[in-house]
Symmetry: C2
Subunit: 329 residues, 2 copies
Amino acid sequence: MKKLINDPNRVVTEMLEGMAVTNPNIIYHKDFEVIARKNKPKKVGIVSGGGSGHEPAHGGYVGIGMLDAAVAGNVFASPSPDRIIKGIKEAHRGKGVLLVIKNYSGDIMNFEMAKELAEMEGVSVRSVIVKDDVAVPESTYSTGRRGIAGTIFVHKIAGAKAEEGGTLEEVLTVAQKAADNVRSMGMAMSSCILPGVGKPGFVLGENEIEIGMGIHGEPGIEKTNVKTAKEIVNILCNKILSDMDYINSEVALIINGLGATPAMELYIIAKEVDDFLKAKNVTPYKYFVGNFMTSLEMAGCSISLLKLDAELKRLLDAPCNTIGLKVGD
Amino acid sequence: MKKLINDPNRVVTEMLEGMAVTNPNIIYHKDFEVIARKNKPKKVGIVSGGGSGHEPAHGGYVGIGMLDAAVAGNVFASPSPDRIIKGIKEAHRGKGVLLVIKNYSGDIMNFEMAKELAEMEGVSVRSVIVKDDVAVPESTYSTGRRGIAGTIFVHKIAGAKAEEGGTLEEVLTVAQKAADNVRSMGMAMSSCILPGVGKPGFVLGENEIEIGMGIHGEPGIEKTNVKTAKEIVNILCNKILSDMDYINSEVALIINGLGATPAMELYIIAKEVDDFLKAKNVTPYKYFVGNFMTSLEMAGCSISLLKLDAELKRLLDAPCNTIGLKVGD
């Protein structure tokens, strides 16, 4: 196993330490694997998190205009409720806390348990569950669609609404609107190796790719031969458009690399997506191209579409400043 | 060969089209493979470029506070002088143009030829050559040290000085100061495949890494067994500090992924670099962690240190807004 690490059992801690020493706006609470915003204005707190290995998600989205705290589990494993409660307390400034949860059974269970416990301590907590992945209706680790890179849009929209002073119910409403209007789908060209395991979770043949694979290597729709960028975009975007009606709408897009995908390839994919959508009368309003929700060193990509209205556009364009996403004034 | 592409002969064009359709601040001149800034204030123009495959370098650094034009060659091949002249003309607004050139024989020859031709047409052109890679004193493609990720600092510093209204000579002086004060070194854990070739340029064994490898796969110092992040950081940083005296200085850092390196690993490296430098009385002032100067899907990293003074700090902190680097107000 070739990885730039010291000890497979310490990758999460050392990575979060690295995020904190290189970013002056966040602090790292080591005992709970929580990254929190350093200067917290009096506003609704936004908390997300989940298994590690998806960096910059989620610690990399803590900062102005996005999250107030991110709770990290071990690699591909949900954080325990005690860690999540710490995240909730870090984010709480008297106006309540919104949890943004990707739809995996472990995350749902642990975040909802932490929510109940925090409410017993008098903190108002609401939650939004993101289930943007249209690849499979049910999956290995989830009831219903999985949550993948579209989650970043929910962070962004909720964070912007909280930053401008929205109440907990207002932040919840707009975050839910974002979650309801985002769909994603991905594909993988290679597997990844969990540091604590030391070998790939699955193997793809030399000319084999997998359509619809999840961000933990969960099975997708089919294994198939290598295809062109155009063919792959057609498959992913047709499936997304068959799930939600984006025709005659403006959309924001995430062209997401899974960790080992060169920027060159992401931009070739982006061009194909742009051609595809314009031919279908879907209007790209804003693109985010890069590694936003990864699977360690997996090669491949996902495409996320958020259907926009005036409110979502405004919140999308509001400034944010985090490791993983910066939107300027 | 598994790549998200359509045609190996069209990767550069399609990638640059993708950059342009997803970024409203740049335009793409297809006949010359030039990415240029859309709104160009009357200021000194900054131009860089080189072979493709290093994305976001260099098209991804065109925008406010950095480059006015980037000229792309084919993958790992220098752009021809006619393309570079187009870049110079795109960047020229009556105040002259600075070329930032990585030290490779092909780039030097073609950029210098374009510079002469542009000067014959009445454009004042100066150039800075970046040779930050301390790994080897001479290399396959260069006389003297190679230019690698430290080049991004020269873009940033020169771009900020031009943006604030510096004259061509002032921009040249501060860009040369940045180039003189930056040192880098890298290592690779895997090779990369040129789209037009279809197989790796070299092969590393299952437990083998290469210290000091160049961004085109040029030989480094030694092939060795897999090491820990701490051991790798010690090797790279000791070599950098043996080349330039950073003790008791403030430094800016780029912890650069070569394309297939997970963010998790870059942050683990960043933490080790931080520990190493503080123990040596070198003070990290600002970190940039991510994929800034890549080698397609090569796995590995490089570390760049820029020794700072008050002027360089101010210019480093000035706003910029490009695909590859955003610094806020």
